[in-house]
Symmetry: C2
Subunit: 250 residues, 2 copies
DNA sequence: CCGTCCGCTATTGTATACATAACGTATTCA
DNA sequence: TGAATACGTTATGTATACAATAGCGGACGG
């Protein structure tokens, strides 16, 4: 295949990984479906070696599952798997918040978080919130959580949280987006923002237990969100990760 | 290289992964040292493709770190990295214990844990405990923790705990072993065993919060253990994982 | 004598060829 | 007619060849 057009700007492995993840999250590959290497080679444009590396990485990431007889399939998740993942992430973020509070954080380090907080406040002033504003919210919320995680100053914990978030459905913000059309959406966002405010306050005052508790509560809110979103199946098309959920009849 | 002797019983990838992990944990490869693929090919007997797959997996496992310019190096950890990892694991196990308690566990499911508990009790009857008994203890303790994790019935959580334990130093039992010569060792084991007993009791009585709290306390005990072990550098040779700790002068 | 630049070498990233195992299909026998 | 076996095809596991890049050493110039 001499006419393969090679993009030298990023490694083929990374390119293949991104392309395959897109295919999985977009639902082009259904849960339980076997991923053919050859087919992946054609759709990603990389050759088999980088494709295989990408498949291994995606397996470690939790999106794929190794088939005993060889090869990989797209992993399928139950609703409980997902709510557990959210609670799991909240627990880890709680630990991060506690570490931050106990180990102390300078005002300078808290600055970016407060900016984030302010930007979200700005967005929430709109009632009802627009779809565009939702997108911004999702990005800002992700940034807030990432910054908070960093404050723990604990590389192993940060790494683990990244992993727990790598399963994209574990990101609470995604579920909120699914509910942008629900009347409860605004309330949920406001409550979530209050949690953000409290955790910063707790960290500033070095109240580790309080910082931890609020992040866990934050996750429980996200779980309630998920349940709500799944009951009211509005805007679910905005949530590609939900393509991974097993249907009840499976 | 036609004379390569191929062991067909396990895949070359797995073989290479195990061999490389051994080399890392045994200290044959020092922290910060770059791993040469070619060299790995020679020492593992696999060819470059499976070796590369193994390297990717070990990176995901946390033992290796990708070098920006290419290749991998052995990751180095600080003492705090390790104590954080222990606390991290304890937090996840706490969540598992809570899930088990809240979701309910049949007497039949608790049976293996109680057997484990009894076997450990048997071992602890020896004073002072022998090195052989320590090895048995380590195995039994690992089994107890694995069984407990399973009780959560939460695949995402079980997976995450496995990952947190994949960094072998995160396994509290390892550190206890390092202290087999310390006078405090016996006490520590007895206290740990008490924690095991309490968590089972809490799960039986469906006290989720208590089950969670005791597992976190258990991890804090392990952290104290680690500190003690590092102060009294006895039997550290029994702890290959400590080869990964950066020395203070690094 | 030191610094810089050029070229070489060694190592990784990528592609592909080969081996092997699994699955599906067709044919045959009971 | 149904089931079992054998064969063929297809896909994965493995090995190796090729390409490109980064790091190092030597040589030349200031």
């Amino acid at each position: 295949m001499a006419e393969r057009e090679v993009d030298r700007s990023v490694s083929q492995t990374v390119k293949a990984q991104l392309a395959l993840r897109d295919q999985i999250l977009s639902g082009a590959l259904r849960p339980g479906e076997r991923i053919s290497e050859l087919q992946a080679v054609e759709t990603t444009g990389a050759s088999r070696t980088p494709v295989r590396m990408a498949l291994v990485r995606l397996e470690e990431e939790g999106l794929l599952e190794a088939i005993p007889s060889g090869g990989f399939m797209v992993k399928a998740f139950s609703e409980r798997d997902i709510s557990d993942s959210i609670e799991l992430r909240g627990t880890l973020e709680g630990l991060a918040a506690r570490f931050a509070a106990e180990r102390g954080v300078s005002a300078r380090e808290l600055e970016p978080l407060k900016e984030c907080l302010g930007a979200i406040d700005e967005l929430l002033r709109q009632v009802p919130i627009s779809v565009d504003a939702f997108s911004s919210y999702v990005a800002l919320n992700a940034r807030f959580h990432a910054l908070l995680t960093e404050l723990s100053r604990s590389p192993p914990l940060i790494r683990q949280i990244d992993r727990a978030s790598a399963l994209p459905f574990a990101s609470p913000s995604g579920f909120v987006m699914a509910q942008s059309a629900l009347p409860e959406a605004q309330q949920i966002l406001i409550i979530g923002q209050e949690h953000h405010r409290v955790v910063i306050d707790a960290i500033e005052n070095r109240e580790g237990a309080r910082a931890e508790a609020i992040m866990r509560e934050h996750a429980r809110l996200a779980v309630r969100n998920l349940r709500l979103a799944l009951r009211n199946r509005t805007h679910l098309d905005l949530l590609p990760a939900l393509a991974l959920i097993k249907t009840a009849t499976d």
